[in-house]
């Protein structure tokens, strides 16, 4: 029967493929049957970097493989909630990757859920000790007194400026490499006004507001954190908003887009990029990871510096950090853990490649090296990494979280003029209540 021979052929083909796949105990097929630790490479590594950062990460991984002779299986996963959900699912299945990336702002939940191995002796044996990192980052990597992550970088929210337009407005200092010092919000607003007047442009600065709650949140946090402490505390269960500080912040932000007309109240990320690239505005408020976007624009000469002190006495930078974590697995051998720690050290050593994407390396030996100090504009805002304020620690906060989206939406409506500052504070409080009253899972 033709049917039978076809079936036989299929069965034979399938069997052959299966035999090939099962060759070797570390084969994923075998471990999927037995529930063993997957051993498809010496180090299994998950990250969420696409685009330019992704290319840099691939370079770093390859370099490590070459110098150490170890194999690394790196997998790129979608940024945000899907990544963290997947990481937690795999950790709870007992077969997680050996090394994974985590934003420091997302660390509290992961650590308190018991999904990570603490950073302990094995790390110090490789030379990974607290004194070798940006203090702000190391502090953020510590949860309940124990460090759970090794910071890789700090990526702050910074001030981009168009050199030509700034010069025309008389804002550059003597060296021409930096802006004249600004000490408070009045200086800042005056600078914006000067930009607008000297260049005859409609706006002085731009930030991506429409459909970008994360940017709104970062913008807000940078200003508010100069005035007051975290908006939630006790792991996110208590709302600790400083009403007057928040109203003051909202009023200031709204004045920029509404009364003073210094910034557009509606800007998508595309319009933002276009405006700054084509010299439509002199200042851009965005994260340093956008540097590669503008680096290749031929006609644009720009520089990046930390924000000055605005409403508070000292300059403050809103930032987050990428860090490396080892998910907990009882089935991981000591050998593999050792490989994982070495891999982490390897990445730290290569973090000057990582800095190319605009980030400030958290590993001080690289950060203080001549190579990085010479790297412009990254080395301009190293101070921002030291003054970094992160998301308030809590089980629902962090990069890409619903919390940031919810907060960002309220802030966006203040920026667009849809909500006045006082109502904005009420809206923030109400929104925070839903988060803070939910029973924490950890």
């Amino acid at each position: 029967m033709s049917g039978l021979s076809r079936r036989q052929f299929l069965a034979a083909g399938g069997g052959a493929a299966l035999a090939a796949a099962m060759a070797g105990c570390g084969s994923p097929v075998v471990t999927s049957f037995t529930g063993g630790q997957p051993r498809t490479a010496d180090v299994i590594y998950w990250h969420l970097f696409g685009g330019g950062d992704g290319k840099n990460m691939t370079k770093m991984v390859k370099k490590y493989e070459q110098t150490s002779g170890r194999s690394v299986e790196a997998t790129l996963l979608s940024w945000g909630n899907p990544y963290y959900t997947k990481l937690s699912l795999s950790a709870s299945s007992g077969r997680p990757p050996d090394v994974a990336i985590s934003h420091l702002s997302r660390l509290p939940l992961l650590a308190q859920a018991g999904l990570l191995d603490p950073v302990a002796d094995q790390f110090s044996a490789q030379g990974i000790t607290p004194d070798k990192f940006t203090p702000a980052a190391w502090e953020k990597a510590t949860v309940d007194g124990t460090p759970y992550a090794v910071p890789l970088d700090t990526h702050p929210f910074v001030l981009f400026y168009n050199t030509a337009l700034a010069e025309k407005a008389g804002l550059l200092d003597a060296t021409g490499e930096n802006l004249k010092p600004m000490n408070n919000s009045d200086d800042f607003v005056a600078a914006l006004q000067a930009l607008k007047d000297a260049n005859g442009s409609k706006y002085a600065a731009v930030a991506s507001i429409t459909a970008d709650p994360s940017t709104c949140w970062r913008f807000f946090m940078m200003i508010y954190s100069g005035l007051a402490g975290p908006i939630v505390s006790q792991g996110g269960t208590e709302v600790t908003i400083d009403r007057s500080a928040m109203e003051h912040t909202f009023a200031f932000m709204q004045s920029l887009t509404q009364e003073k007309g210094l910034m557009p109240s509606n800007a998508t990320s595309t319009t933002t990029t276009t405006l700054f690239s084509q010299g439509g505005v002199g200042f851009l408020f965005d994260g340093e990871w956008q540097i590669p976007t503008y680096r290749d624009v031929k006609s644009l000469d720009f520089n990046v510096v930390p924000f000055p002190a605005l409403l508070g006495p000292k300059p403050v930078a809103y930032a987050d950090s990428h860090s490396l974590v080892i998910p907990r697995s009882s089935r991981r051998s000591a050998e593999r853990t050792d490989d994982a720690v070495r891999f982490i050290k390897g990445l730290l050593d290569e973090s000057s490649i990582w800095a190319d994407g605009g980030h400030v390396p958290a590993w001080l030996p690289v950060q203080q090296s001549q190579e990085f100090v010479n790297l412009k504009p990254q080395s301009n805002y190293t101070q921002a990494a030291f003054n970094a304020v992160y998301d308030p620690p809590g089980w629902y906060t962090g990069a890409g979280s619903d919390f940031q989206t919810a907060m960002g939406s309220v802030i966006a409506s203040v920026l667009t003029g849809g909500t006045d500052p006082a109502s904005g504070v009420d809206a923030m409080t109400a929104s925070l209540q839903t988060f803070s009253t939910a029973r924490p899972p950890v």
């Binding site: 937690s88 939910a438 899972p441």
Partner: protein, 316 residues
Amino acid sequence: MTATAIPTSATGVDVQVRPETARGAARGHNRAGWLFATPFLVLYVAFLIGPVLIGLVISLFNTTTVKSGVGSWVGLSNYAEVLSQKDFWASMWHSVLFTLLTTPLLVLLPLLFAILASRMARKQWFFRLAFFAPYVVPSSAVCLIFAFMYTPETGLITNAFSWVGLTAPDFFGSTSGAWFAVVLLTLWWTFGFNFILYTAAIQEMSEEIYEAAAIDGAGPWQQIRMITIPLLRPTMGLVLMLQVLASLKVFDQIYILLAGGPAYSTRPVIQYIYDTGFTAYRGGYAAAATMVYFVILVVISAVWFLARRRNNPAKV
């Protein structure tokens, strides 16, 4: 079907009868019956009934999905919280809305086309192929293709709108555009299943009725109206029931194509459970949401089921 050789006695009449008592036979039946049924029952109880019970238990505790153990006792407060959450009811509404949007299309259009296709003697295989092939495609592949066709400015479907003089909706940025996108995708993907059901039912209709009607001078449209559609009513009922139940459990396409967006405005219930239970680790809370949703679905299933039994007492 090929006939298998069955051991029969040589004479066929003089059968050797072993002396078995009635109770012995019953015991043999009992043991054999349980032996045959046990594998199924074990798996059924363990993995179908088990989760229901586990869900009930967990919903009364503050369980962390990723930690072992059930956590602290909280009684019914998870249920109180679920039932008072705007987001939960929003997601329930989204699942219902999806059902309302897709069910009429997926019950009536396949009917129409099955009837029209049945008027053709040949090429049945072509229709079956074209309409049913999408059904075997995995949801993620369908979403990959449609996401590409929905690309703003350059996508095929986006451009198709401008070819007929309309502006394409914002498929990923606006809620109505998102619903359009996911409904169209679902229509393409699952049309074939109902089409096959209708076609099979039509094929079972006897030719004689149609011949008699034709002799009586009934035109094709009259035949359809008077014969085909009334005879298809039970199948329509079946398709409606299956469609409603399947649509209420939607997850794949909305999650993969839209991530429940924009801004969770299309998030169905199962994704709500996924987000609270697996992204936020709130196991007890998500279990309570699961139980509420589960009860609602079982009630709807039971209502349909009993209604069907009442209408078709012959079938199971």
